[in-house]
Amino acid sequence: MPSWQNFQPFIVTGLALGGVYALSGVGLVVLYQATGVVYLALGAVGAMGALITYSLISGGMAHWLAWLVCLAFSGAVTLAYGMIFGPLLAKRDPLVKATATLGLLLVLFGAMDLLWTTSGGAVRSLTFPTDGHGFSLGHVTINWTQVIGLGVGVAITAGTAAFLRFTKLGTAMRALANDREITATLGVPVRRVEAAAWLGCGILAGIAGLLLADMVALDATTLTFLVISSLAAALIARLRSVTLTFGAALLVGLVQNMLVPIPALTSYSNMAPFVLAAVALLLLSRRRVIGLSREEA
């Protein structure tokens, strides 16, 4: 068993990653609540945004402008998908809605492989100016990007929770989650509220894509499937609570990283999100009875 000191750096990386998982997990939950769609293409959208940013920065564009382009891209793609296919699939089973987003995932995945060919062996990377600067806490060096990762996670979670609680649009989203028909009858502009949710989720996907490209790797496959970790967090929260998602995301990030220094478990650390989500799903559903509802699992 490694000593406490060996764990410390992994706690830092775990919290930072957890913050980013929380960010995209919150996006998933809000979108699911407002539209009933589990957005499995979230990782792919963020990955493509990050790759575009990489190309723009390599081409000499100012960093902040390239970051904004990434957010604009992921927001626009997500919004366009939601506006075109959201209404077409509105009456269908949540499973069908989720599966359709796999189509978007495949399209983006193919496009990324086509445009940013990986066979050359050249390793791309996206770095933030904050990577090189940091401070020491005990024996651990913490860089500002890690602080930003956790900070953005906290800020987005708190912001989203407040937004859902206190604004008119947020109230409309919560109403949609409860009952679409009644909400529409009461005169809430359903399409517009849904559009806001799609756009917000897309922008969160872009932020997560940029941060993960820096923290993990700028690689289409890795980033596309990191959505599974955020999804694990969202599932632990049963796709309902934003704050629970945040806690679950930190847990997923921490467990995943704290297994790394244990030699026997190092190679299994990437299993953590899957196992946590599977166990949570099974525990939370153990007392459900069969029902006619199509919405609930």
Binding site: D93, L235, G291
Partner: protein
């Protein structure tokens, strides 16, 4: 339960209702059987002669993936379970087969059977606690379980002739190839072997669909509470479907192991599961031909594109568009849609040739 198609059974029941009273096999059935026999003879005898080795290998992969698609078709089309982790199941089958082939001298068919059974047991045990979940959550849990299995297999590594349980010796240079059956060592012979195995698996599933379990699955898909009310043990039959699908996919894994000779965990990437689901939905999950179409889409098209120098990524993009298209407009897939479209086209052409359109309704069949 899931409804990919609005009501998958209604069309079938209407079609068969017209022929009720007749007990003899109707003429279309005989024609269909004849077509299948002719097609099989051609595939087994003619195809390996006509094709280059490159395409023979591709067609062997088509047979493997047709079986994988068949297994997933049972899950999606019969009990409405969209598995997002079939590659992990295929990998379990391939791993077990490779281990048995290196470790024992058993005949190949026995190894295939055992690989299928091991996969069946593992698949059922893993999904047993999850069957309480339904719809979206069940699909997502297969994604999670498959992710976990993939990590385990990547850590264990595939057997390469080593000793011990894992059969992996860490040796990277002198790896013995996974053996093939003695009657089918050459590529064309192995292709025929794979096709025969696939035909057996298709027959197995066809028998299931036409008998008691098939009827139970149809009832469960229509309405789970109603099925329960008429005394169908829904959990047992769902588990049966999972077992059957895992068995078929495990056997496919065994055939795959012999086809490629060397197994690496990188060949079982997570996104392949998504591609498999895409081609199954595009081919049509309610139709056994859909599985053949899915196999062709998944393995023959890439081989063709590679030959023409077109990037495979275009295919990924096409599959992505295909999934969305199938889910929004043609929920029963190509195998169902294509003949209908062709029939429509035929009627259109016929109408152009025969200018004066007869006053008889074109649907036909209703005449006493």
């Amino acid at each position: 339960m899931l409804d990919v198609a609005e009501s998958p059974d209604s069309a079938d029941s209407r079609a068969s209702g017209r022929q009720s009273g007749l007990r003899l096999p109707a003429r279309p059935t005989l024609i269909r059987a004849g077509v299948i026999v002719v097609l099989l003879v051609f595939v087994l005898l003619g195809l390996p002669q006509l094709l280059s080795l490159y395409y023979v290998d591709a067609m062997t992969q088509v047979a493997v993936y047709a079986m994988v698609a068949l297994g997933l078709g049972v899950l999606v089309g019969r009990v409405g379970l969209m598995s997002l982790g079939q590659v992990a199941v295929l990998a379990i089958g391939a791993w077990s087969a490779a281990r048995l082939l290196f470790g024992t001298g058993q005949p190949y068919p026995l190894v295939l059977l055992e690989a299928g059974l091991v996969t069946m047991i593992l698949g059922t045990v893993l999904l047993l606690p999850a069957l309480r979940l339904r719809g979206l959550y069940l699909a997502l849990i297969t994604l999670m379980l498959a992710g976990a299995v993939t990590v385990v297999l990547a850590t264990l590594n595939f057997p390469n002739g080593g000793r011990g349980f894992t059969g992996y010796n860490g040796n990277q240079t002198h790896i013995p190839p996974i053996r093939r059956p003695s009657i089918a060592t050459s590529d064309p012979a192995y292709f025929r072997y794979a096709v025969v195995v696939a035909v057996v698996m298709f027959a197995l599933v066809a028998v299931h669909i036409r008998t008691r379990p098939g009827r139970a699955w149809a009832a469960i898909r229509q309405s789970e509470p109603a099925a329960l009310a008429v005394g169908i043990n829904t959990t047992a039959y769902k588990l049966w479907a999972v077992a059957l699908a895992s068995f078929v996919t495990g056997v496919a894994g065994g055939v795959y192991a012999g086809a490629v000779h060397y197994l690496y965990s990188i060949d079982f990437a997570a996104y392949t599961s998504i591609t498999i689901l895409a081609v199954v939905l595009m081919g049509g999950a309610y139709n056994l031909w859909g599985a053949v179409v899915a196999g062709l889409l998944m393995q023959l098209l890439p081989a063709l594109l590679q030959n023409w120098g077109v990037s495979n990524d275009w295919l990924t993009i096409l599959f992505g568009i295909g999934v969305v298209q199938v889910l929004t407009t043609a929920p029963r897939g190509l195998a169902d849609q294509f003949p209908k479209d062709m029939a429509k086209l035929g009627k259109l052409l016929l109408g152009l040739v025969r200018r004066p359109v007869p006053a008889v309704p074109e649907t036909g069949g209703e005449t006493p």
